[in-house]
Assembly symmetry: C2
Homo-oligomer: 334 residues x 2
């Protein structure tokens, strides 16, 4: 019989210690044992400010083309920190597991977390394991929180955006949402679309190491897609984007058509939107395109003085408003 | 009809913004709006080290005598930080909500979180809201992560414990676990037992401000109770505790007898175990008893040189080993 998670694995006793010591730590923190772990981690901080963030992940299915809930949980939090300009340093890992969850699946997820954390050069320093009875959760939910050191003199935020600043995206839109939805709906072209889930902190660091404060603001595009993020940034400025310049893979475009989705509102998990001053655009594009996660980087629009308004020039030459999505298109996409 | 949480409340769009702006922020961050919130918070840090921790909360029922899941989520993380000697500074708040969850209950929980955060003097600085479909979670799960500044020259940890150091507890054991289990089992004496859930950071700070490094180690007693924590601390030392000195309320003792629970393994949510050097015991007790959360503080045992072993002198004069609980006694107690 397949080994499964039991209620007792979450009880704070011997069985939980075994799970952590024998299954989690060898992958996440080789060389450490249960007794090295206090409930809080102690971290040296070499900065006057830190960035701090947290996200829970409830994606279905747990494994999808290009990734899984574990990789997603690391990338989501790493990218939130990177978007503030912070260097991600440490993550927490909190699991809520349904009784009966296959131990093999849990191992796969933990392995994926370990690999992604290594890729992003962050350490899992603290965590928590809860188990709930059958039917009280669907498989596994993962929360990661993260801290990172912030640069001394840079605070990237939307108040720094000015008209004529340029919007740059590091690659095609809609891969993650389309990949997950395709699997969920059992569509044939599922194999053609792969999630873009990736840690973007190195890409971001390369950019700000060179362009510094000519980068005005950054935001990673997840739930709600480009449409949601642009509307969040549109406060004292507006934006006009150009549909012909927004990179979208043909397979994703096809999937969105079939599923009735607007690619502007579809989730991404490896895309950062950069707002940069006009003078820095060429340099920024050169740096981004040189990174494997940014080869298809493109300028897709500009800020203007129509405060609060996001518009798109359509392929056929028209123009329309891009609204914040209402919110029900893609449940459990991350 | 009662207002309920919909899938779209978790979609990253307009409805989620409304929930956060109209329901959460007025309680948690009066005066701020949705656009003030980046996905990561930026925090000034005035310390060379921080403590960082995270816990998920899945308690059932959500409301119990003396508290609720919201109060628990703040106290749990604040107490984990305090146990490292850190001054808790900021918390994240991540919610996983089941579709159909009553908005009124959510409001009550958020209000409780706000009140407890105010009491502990910590700020909720970042967060995340996910909604899963009916049946995919049981009501609501809450994750809080926290960061706090650590004192420059103090690092409380189990390696500092020496034989003859004294164990002090800040009040009676077993209140939280017994209160929750009594409600769950529908026992009559439920009204007599109240959870001890409370933020202990001020109590801890008062102690270390005075006793400094004469406090060797601290650990907050949650899942697995005193038995689990003592066994975690028993590495290069052992412990002998005295049953007659361990404070337990009569109603809790009665409830444990009826429920077949060993009070040493029952969860607490407002109890810190301090290990202090013998010379500091009187001073420590005086300080702890002066705080409303420590009036019944008591020395309950000492460290000895029987490494790895936890023993208890029983009321009838015998002695027995106190093992780490296996872990299945009290599921979903926190």
């Amino acid at each position: 019989m397949t080994e499964q998670i039991k209620i007792a694995h979450g009880g704070g006793g011997t069985l939980m210690q075994q799970l952590i010591t024998e299954e989690f730590l060898p992958l996440l923190r080789p060389g450490s044992d249960f007794h090295d772990l206090a409930d809080s981690a102690r971290l040296p901080i070499n900065a006057s400010h830190i960035a701090f963030t947290s996200d829970s992940f409830v994606v279905q299915p747990l494994f999808f083309p290009g990734g899984d809930i574990g990789k997603l949980a690391v990338c989501g939090t790493v990218n939130d920190l990177a978007a503030r300009g912070a260097v991600p340093q440490a993550l927490s890992l909190s699991l809520i597991i349904e009784e009966g969850f296959p131990l093999d699946d849990l191992r796969k997820i933990i392995k994926s977390i370990a690999q992604t954390a290594q890729q992003a050069q962050v350490t899992i320093v603290t965590g928590d394991t809860k188990v709930v009875e059958r039917g009280a959760a669907s498989g596994i939910f993962i929360n990661t929180a993260g801290v990172g050191a912030m640069p001394a003199n840079l605070d990237f935020n939307l108040s720094r955006i000015q008209p004529d600043d340029v919007l740059i995206i590091n690659g095609p839109l809609g891969d993650h949402g389309t990949a997950v939805m395709s699997v969920r709906k059992g569509l044939n072209f599922a194999s053609q679309v792969t999630s873009d889930v990736a840690p973007l902190n190195h890409l971001v660091k390369e950019l700000i190491d060179t362009c510094g404060d000519k980068v005005k603001c950054m935001t990673d595009l997840t739930r709600g897609g480009l449409a949601a993020n642009l509307n969040e940034l549109a406060r004292s400025v507006g934006f006009i984007i150009d549909e012909t310049k927004i990179p979208v893979r043909p397979a994703v475009r096809g999937a969105c058509d079939m599923l009735g989705l607007d690619v502007l509102t579809v989730a991404n998990e490896g895309k950062m939107l950069f707002v940069v001053s006009p003078a820095a655009v060429e340099q920024a594009l050169a740096i981004l395109k040189n990174n494997p996660l940014g080869t298809q980087s493109a300028p897709i629009g500009t800020a203007d003085n129509k405060a609060g308004r996001v518009r798109i020039k359509t392929q056929i030459g028209g123009e329309r408003i891009v609204d914040t999505p209402y919110g029900e298109e893609l449940p459990r996409i991350c």
